[in-house]
């Protein structure tokens, strides 16, 4: 993939508190015909900016195909940015290679979505947890053993001896996810990226796993990126929330603020679409936008949500890309509705 990155990894001056900073990040994938001639780009992540503080938990919410996984993979350096910078601890990591890359990855833990798919079926728990330590050059066997036991204690896989020699298929979904979390935590990372960590689990276990992640975050002063499509779990977990739609961050703010005063029409649609168990739901049709997210090869011009938006301003939303506005302090939104200083979503009161 070609990049027009000119900068070398120079430490940029950043606040001591900021662990990760993403600047003007674009993740585009090239589409090729016959394997070489260029036919276009898939704009998976487009012009994304944000900062993550040490010890802070953020959530990224969006539907499948909105680019949240591409964003995550870029932060893990599983793909390279097309344009823009990712700064981790004051250092641009987007071009890291070899040993530096390995060192960086040891500082970022990754909790996958499907625990069974993420664990090698032919390895017992002990070996699964041993691998990252071996790979990162911890030669002392006793030390490795101790860290494995500690990590298992921390995720409450106890008594440890009962689990050490078990294979993934012998564990329940919740236990498998605990092994995945232990593996992510074993190198004592500074950042934990959790990609839909509970969506494959039963409702009765979800809360348990979310609480475990929160406990780890607090005890280790971890920064956590929680990627999900389920808005209702976010507020038990993170402080700030980012809403993504079709490759763009459309709204970012604190979770309580987002629930009280959602600004972007897409966020409003998500909140309307989230069910709360109530028998009255069955009696009326939900007012949600029709259609589906657009293709990222040829996203709609202007605002990418405008074909589904009920507040579309003709001649504006379908022509010009909306700017990042800050109608309320700390509440960013990418929507033309707020260009004239409005601070509430039209019709929010009426809807109740």
């Amino acid at each position: 993939m070609s990049t027009d990155l000119k900068n070398t990894p120079t430490p940029s001056r950043t606040d001591e508190d900021i662990l990760l900073s993403v600047e003007d990040l674009h993740v585009w994938f090239e589409l090729k015909k016959w394997g070489f001639s260029h036919v276009g780009w898939v704009r998976a992540v487009d012009k994304v900016n944000f900062q993550l503080k040490r010890g802070e938990a953020i959530a990224i919410v969006g539907e499948s195909g909105c680019g949240k996984s591409s964003l995550m993979k870029t932060l893990l350096l599983l793909n390279r940015p097309h344009k823009g910078r990712v700064i981790f601890e004051g250092r641009d990591i987007s071009n890291l290679k070899g040993r530096a890359l390995k060192q960086f990855r040891a500082q970022v833990g990754f909790v996958q979505q499907d625990p069974y798919g993420a664990l090698p079926p032919f390895m017992p728990v002990h070996r699964i947890l041993d691998e990252p330590l071996v790979i990162n050059g911890i030669k002392n066997k006793k030390e490795r053993e101790e860290r494995i036991r500690n990590a298992m204690q921390e995720v409450a896989l106890t008594p440890v001896d009962d689990f050490l020699n078990k294979y993934p298929h012998m564990l329940s979904g919740g236990q498998q996810q605990r092994v995945v979390i232990a593996r992510a935590m074993i190198l004592e990372p500074k950042l934990l990226v959790a990609d839909e960590p509970v969506s494959m689990l039963d409702a009765s276990v979800r809360v348990e796993i979310l609480r475990l992640l929160r406990k780890l975050q607090e005890e280790h002063n971890l920064s956590v990126m929680y990627i999900t499509h389920d808005l209702s779990t976010v507020r038990y977990f993170s402080e700030r929330i980012f809403v993504m739609y079709a490759g763009k961050l459309v709204e970012q703010t604190h979770i309580e603020e987002l629930l009280d005063n959602p600004l972007h029409p897409y966020t409003n649609a998500l909140l309307t679409g989230t069910s709360v168990p109530d028998a009255a739901n069955a009696k009326h049709i939900k007012h949600v936008p029709p259609g589906e997210p657009p293709s990222l090869v040829n996203p709609p011009p202007g605002c990418r949500f405008h074909p589904r938006c009920e507040h579309v301003i003709a001649g504006k939303c379908d022509v010009e890309e909306p700017p990042d506005l800050e109608p309320l302090p700390g509440h960013l939104v990418n929507c033309w509705l707020y260009a004239d200083g409005q601070t509430r979503y039209p019709g929010l009161e009426a809807r109740g």
């Binding site: 009765s204 809360v207 038990y236 629930l259 109530d278 028998a279 069955a282």
Partner: protein, 336 residues
């Protein structure tokens, strides 16, 4: 209550033979469903929800150990029919099904329209033209553009494929549709849209649904009644209104408490432990090991008590119950 139910399931059991013993996937369940109503079957994975759906549709694997009980559809005992009669008279004629992960259940090498038309050709003896015309109507019904008739499944998005699967279940105009996790693999807004489609169909055509899901919040979008399954048994059947405000069985209460909510201060809770193995389920109440309200009685299997007309399988309701079945089982003093 006096109205004749559309479906009455009595004492339905489905056991599977395995090398290590019999798995009691569906263990003597009872429930009823009236016309134009939707019952939601709730439960954790592995509690026998899908097995029950398959038992009702008689879509059985080869290792069936026991398949017994009574399934009455519109007054007709369909368990008496032989397999061929069941296939031609019941399955897809009176009951159809939207299978789990329906989006992957479509045949990849057939056009969407042809697949939807097929049940009409097989079961209603329509010609291909008639069936395709009907498929077109069904597509409009579920909100799929009609030019998608000629598309292959891989050319459709997940939500569209799900709608196609629903169209396929609808085309024979069945009285009952079994929906097995119809939205669990879909995105939030797509989910809401599909639920809207299902509601509209119910209102317009008067069909009934059995909705199988573990997603309590989404299930409330469609439910008239809720049946909770735990470890192969139905532990509670209740009207949606009373279930979502005041579930009776301790397991239902725990399930409701585990639902994260957008607003309100209550933290969701989790249920410690996990369901018992269905190979050798415990002799007493199957939920006892995880139940916060356990007492001595729980070592014996509770009968199903009728509390305000709602069946609950829990000893806590022994006193208030107006009836219990099976009566006087295990020599229980109270029920005699």
């Amino acid at each position: 209550m006096s109205e004749n139910p559309l479906l009455r399931v009595e004492d339905l059991a489905l056991y599977f033979k395995t090398r290590v013993g019999q798995v009691q996937a569906v263990d003597h369940v009872h429930f009823e469903l009236k016309k134009n109503r939707a019952v939601v079957i709730l439960g954790e994975s592995g509690c026998g929800k899908t097995s029950m759906a398959k038992a009702i549709l008689r879509l059985l694997p080869r290792n069936v150990g026991q398949y017994s009980g009574k399934i009455e559809l519109d007054g007709q005992d369909v368990m008496q029919l032989d397999d061929e009669a069941f296939r031609t008279q019941i399955r897809w004629v009176k009951i159809s099904m939207v299978p789990q992960a329906a989006m992957n259940a479509l045949n990849p090498v057939l056009r969407a329209g042809d697949q939807v038309a097929e049940p009409a050709m097989v079961h209603l003896n329509m010609s291909k033209e008639e069936a395709l015309a009907r498929a077109k109507v069904m597509f409009q019904h579920v909100g799929v553009p009609v030019d998608f008739l000629a598309r292959y499944p891989f050319e459709l998005s997940g939500g569209m494929r799900q709608r196609v699967a629903i169209a396929m279940a609808l085309i024979t105009n069945p009285q009952l549709i079994v929906l097995d996790e119809p939205t669990s693999a879909l995105d939030l807004l797509t989910q809401a849209n599909i639920m809207n489609v299902l509601k509209t169909i119910k209102w317009e055509t008067g069909t009934s649904y059995i909705l199988i899901t573990h997603d309590i919040a989404t299930s409330s979008e469609l439910a008239d009644e809720v049946a909770v399954m735990y470890a192969g048994q139905i532990v509670e059947v209740n009207e949606a209104e009373s279930f979502f405000s005041q579930p009776l069985h301790p397991y239902s209460q725990k399930l409701m408490a585990s639902v994260p909510r957008l607003y309100g201060d209550k933290e969701p809770d989790f249920i410690p432990g996990r369901p018992p193995s269905l190979l050798n389920p415990p002799a007493g109440c199957r939920f006892a090991d995880r139940c916060p309200l356990r007492f001595e009685q729980c070592d014996r299997e509770p009968p199903t008590f009728i509390v305000d007309g709602h069946p609950v399988k829990c000893w806590l309701y022994e006193k208030e119950a107006s009836a219990a079945f099976p009566p006087a089982a295990n020599g229980s003093g109270d029920a005699s």
